[in-house]
Symmetry: C2
Subunit: 473 residues, 2 copies
């Protein structure tokens, strides 16, 4: 979130420059937050506009902010929003009726319903005054009410609106530690757990802690989720890339890690940490346990902090792969993975049905899209074993690459922009995640509602065919 | 929040060093977040513990993190938590039955009930599935239900759990802009508004944007809320202090701003922004409009970004003072301040009663505590005109200052620690906020429940008397 905001601030500065010649400041007063630099638009400011021009401009802000890129929210998305507004005011402005956002892993904005049990508990914790009213029994399940009481009992003063302990409410960390113990079969200490509002603050915290200067490096997969490149840039460190092997289904080879580590050390970089995203984003692969062991061993030998991003641990779609936490693997004693106990409670049946419904639908969507991509001329797509993404490779005709150059775009960005303009489908160019030089990809989420997938496939296939016809030799 | 977490991480590193000789890493696997560096406690890690020792330690982390201090969550609070645990296991362990947290502006954790209307709307937005059920009519007010529909209609896909626009949901920014227009009587553009989860991310965002190196300075009031000193330290800039004038009720003099600006410029510092907290934290003063105009003029002349922290705009306790937003002042056209319209709706009566009840009780508590402080030997306390704090000055006897030196504490920290141990009352030493060298203060919130205030006054008065007796000449 914070990253996106920085990006927006930068865009706003950029557009302000064009629109107002720097005479407006970038932050406006809001109800409980920072207010603007009011000098900029007071009646008498004209006399000092030349001073103000130097206040906040692309040439005077922190250059690290300028280096920050966030592909999933970049140029293509801005164009998509513009098209959406045009469709709203003039429904036949474009050859499609709606914009289909396949760019961002944001299930509920694409119509996926939230899990009822979670929302019941959340609502009751937000407004505990209704907990012991009789109408509440009719509206909420008994175990949601019970769970809300349990959670509230763990919060000092039952105050859900209050500042909590810096690491998160102790009682919740106890519960999470117990869940991790059940999952991994090894002890977990609640005092080692830091709760954050999303993954981004946790990643930023670690980068802030580890990076002292541009001489500190972080090993990151390519392709990677841009949160990593953006946070490393923002904290002034060096991204040390290692390439995932597309030929083996985006495999992670320790020999590649060693090679990149040595190369960067020879340049005077102190590599401090290794980022592993499992299941992968944007690549969707699930690591094998043997592979994970080798990675752990590598970190041990080289003295690296292992930053394991395991956000998609429940999103695994192929029966031959299982998620193993790096914590469990590192403790080297078999499996024993279980969900946090809910069995037997009133909501368990609906909870399981909702969750399994979502996951099996995602698996079907992944397969349909994967098959469709693999049927396209010049496109190859690895299986989505987990996470919520496909990352197909596209071999573009020479003429298309030339056309992209003329338009001053990366070839995959050019393809995505043409696709959006022709079909309303929003993808993210592979160049936003990194890729082996000379190869081109795009990321497509598997999140649009299942009934929309066939239309997406048709539109995409038709577009691709005409695009290739246009540029073929 | 993020700042607190960084502080905790540092503390954890520190305690890990003592407890485990660096053999544990600082982050543990949690359900959806970063997992630990697992190498540290796997069975075979002993062979490499010397390598691991260099991974994450006080000497190898980013030194800017070490410079970060956050007084309201510091040493005194750690001691208070220890005492609280001792009381829980052994109720007569100390000469008091409970810990009274006057250190942090956290009303609901001290028993202040949340505003019903807000919580009803929040619960309904979290769990919209109940919106059109008949039982909901009996549990929630009609205008809460109506408001929840309005808000949900502004959220794309009605998806409260989804990622939003980077600046916050557009429809909500429209509403906020309309509220600011009504408050200030000047236009407000929703595209200039950035919503953040608390004030801290907004402050960090601005510091990140403005600070390029230690040569960039930010003018901050002394005393200040430590969010500012901490975020400037973390982003590697220089805090340029200006002193609030205690003799004139913590007045903000433009001559002082000029003096400090020139001093820092002569040292090669580029001052980029001025922080003003109004109503003040920890000082509780409310700025006069004429004073604000002079501040705006100063920023205009010197080319400074004005960072106006107006979080406490509804917390004003004296009839002769009014809150004026810097935005309004800067647009220089009279008043016209109003709340966002709620009049006539079903919840308005209870909303007003709850809000007015809270504010008038806070005003009474502020007055009672202020009077009590002013009766103490060697203590003078300015009026709390706004915000939620008193910041009394205390002249400590020479012997007490010597005793503090012997205990390696700042004299005000020593006083607060002795007070806590004797009475269970938690204050924050003035040294955590900054003060004129050679003066000593502490910050006391006005938030403990009103019925507890007399006991706090009695305990504090008794302690103070015996403390002064102990150290008097």
């Amino acid at each position: 979130m914070r990253r996106f905001v920085i990006g927006s601030a930068r865009n706003l500065i950029e557009s302000s420059r064009q629109k107002y010649q720097f005479e407006r400041s970038i932050l406006s007063s809001s109800y409980r937050f920072l207010s603007s630099s009011p000098a900029a638009d007071s009646p008498s400011s004209s006399s000092s506009s030349s001073t103000m021009a130097h206040l906040v401009s692309l040439s005077t802000i922190n250059p690290k902010v300028i280096e920050c890129e966030y592909a999933v929210r970049g140029e293509i998305v801005t164009l998509a929003q513009k098209l959406q507004e045009e469709i709203q005011t003039k429904p036949d402005a474009h050859p499609f009726e709606e914009i289909l956002y396949c760019n961002i892993g944001n299930p509920q904005s694409l119509g996926q319903q939230p899990i009822t049990f979670f929302r019941e508990v959340l609502a009751l914790c937000d407004h505990p005054a209704i907990l012991d009213k009789s109408e509440t029994q009719g509206l909420f399940s008994a175990d949601s009410i019970e769970r809300a009481w349990q959670i509230l009992d763990q919060i000092p003063g039952r105050a859900t609106g209050a500042y909590s302990h810096s690491q998160g409410i102790k009682g919740l960390r106890d519960t999470i530690a117990a869940g991790i113990e059940v999952r991994d079969g090894f002890p977990a200490d609640p005092n080692d757990i830091f709760l954050t509002d999303g993954a981004s603050p946790a990643v930023h915290m670690m980068m802030q802690l580890l990076i002292r200067s541009e001489k500190d490096g972080i090993l990151c997969p390519i392709p990677q989720y841009p949160l990593y490149s953006a946070s490393i840039a923002l904290h002034g460190g060096t991204l040390v890339p290692y390439y995932l092997d597309e030929a083996t289904g985006w495999g992670l080879e320790v020999s590649e890690l060693k090679k990149q580590l040595e190369t960067s050390r020879s340049k005077g970089i102190t590599v401090r940490a290794l980022v592993v995203i499992n299941p992968g984003n944007p690549t969707g692969q699930v690591l094998a346990e043997e592979n994970q062991k080798a990675i752990v061993e590598f970190c041990k030998q080289e003295g690296l902090v292992l930053l394991a991003d395991e956000v998609y641990q429940e999103n695994v779609y192929v029966p031959e792969k299982k998620f193993h936490s790096f914590k469990k693997v590192s403790r080297s004693m078999g499996y024993g993975e279980k969900d946090i106990a809910l069995v037997g409670d009133e909501s368990y049946e609906s909870y399981s049905a909702e969750r399994d419904g979502i996951l099996s639908s995602l698996a079907r969507r992944a397969k349909t899209l994967e098959d469709a991509f693999n049927k396209l001329e010049g496109v190859t797509c690895n299986k989505a074993e987990g996470a919520m993404y496909l990352f197909p490779r596209i071999d573009l005709p020479e003429k298309a690459i030339k056309a992209a150059e003329a338009a001053k775009k990366a070839p995959d960005a050019y393809y995505c922009q043409r696709l959006l303009a022709a079909t309303g489908i929003v993808l993210v160019p592979g160049s936003g995640f990194g890729q082996v030089p000379g190869t081109w990809h795009f990321r497509c989420t598997i999140l649009p509602q299942e009934e929309k997938i066939p239309a997406i496939v048709t539109r995409l296939t038709d577009f691709h065919k005409s695009f290739m016809d246009e540029f073929r030799g």
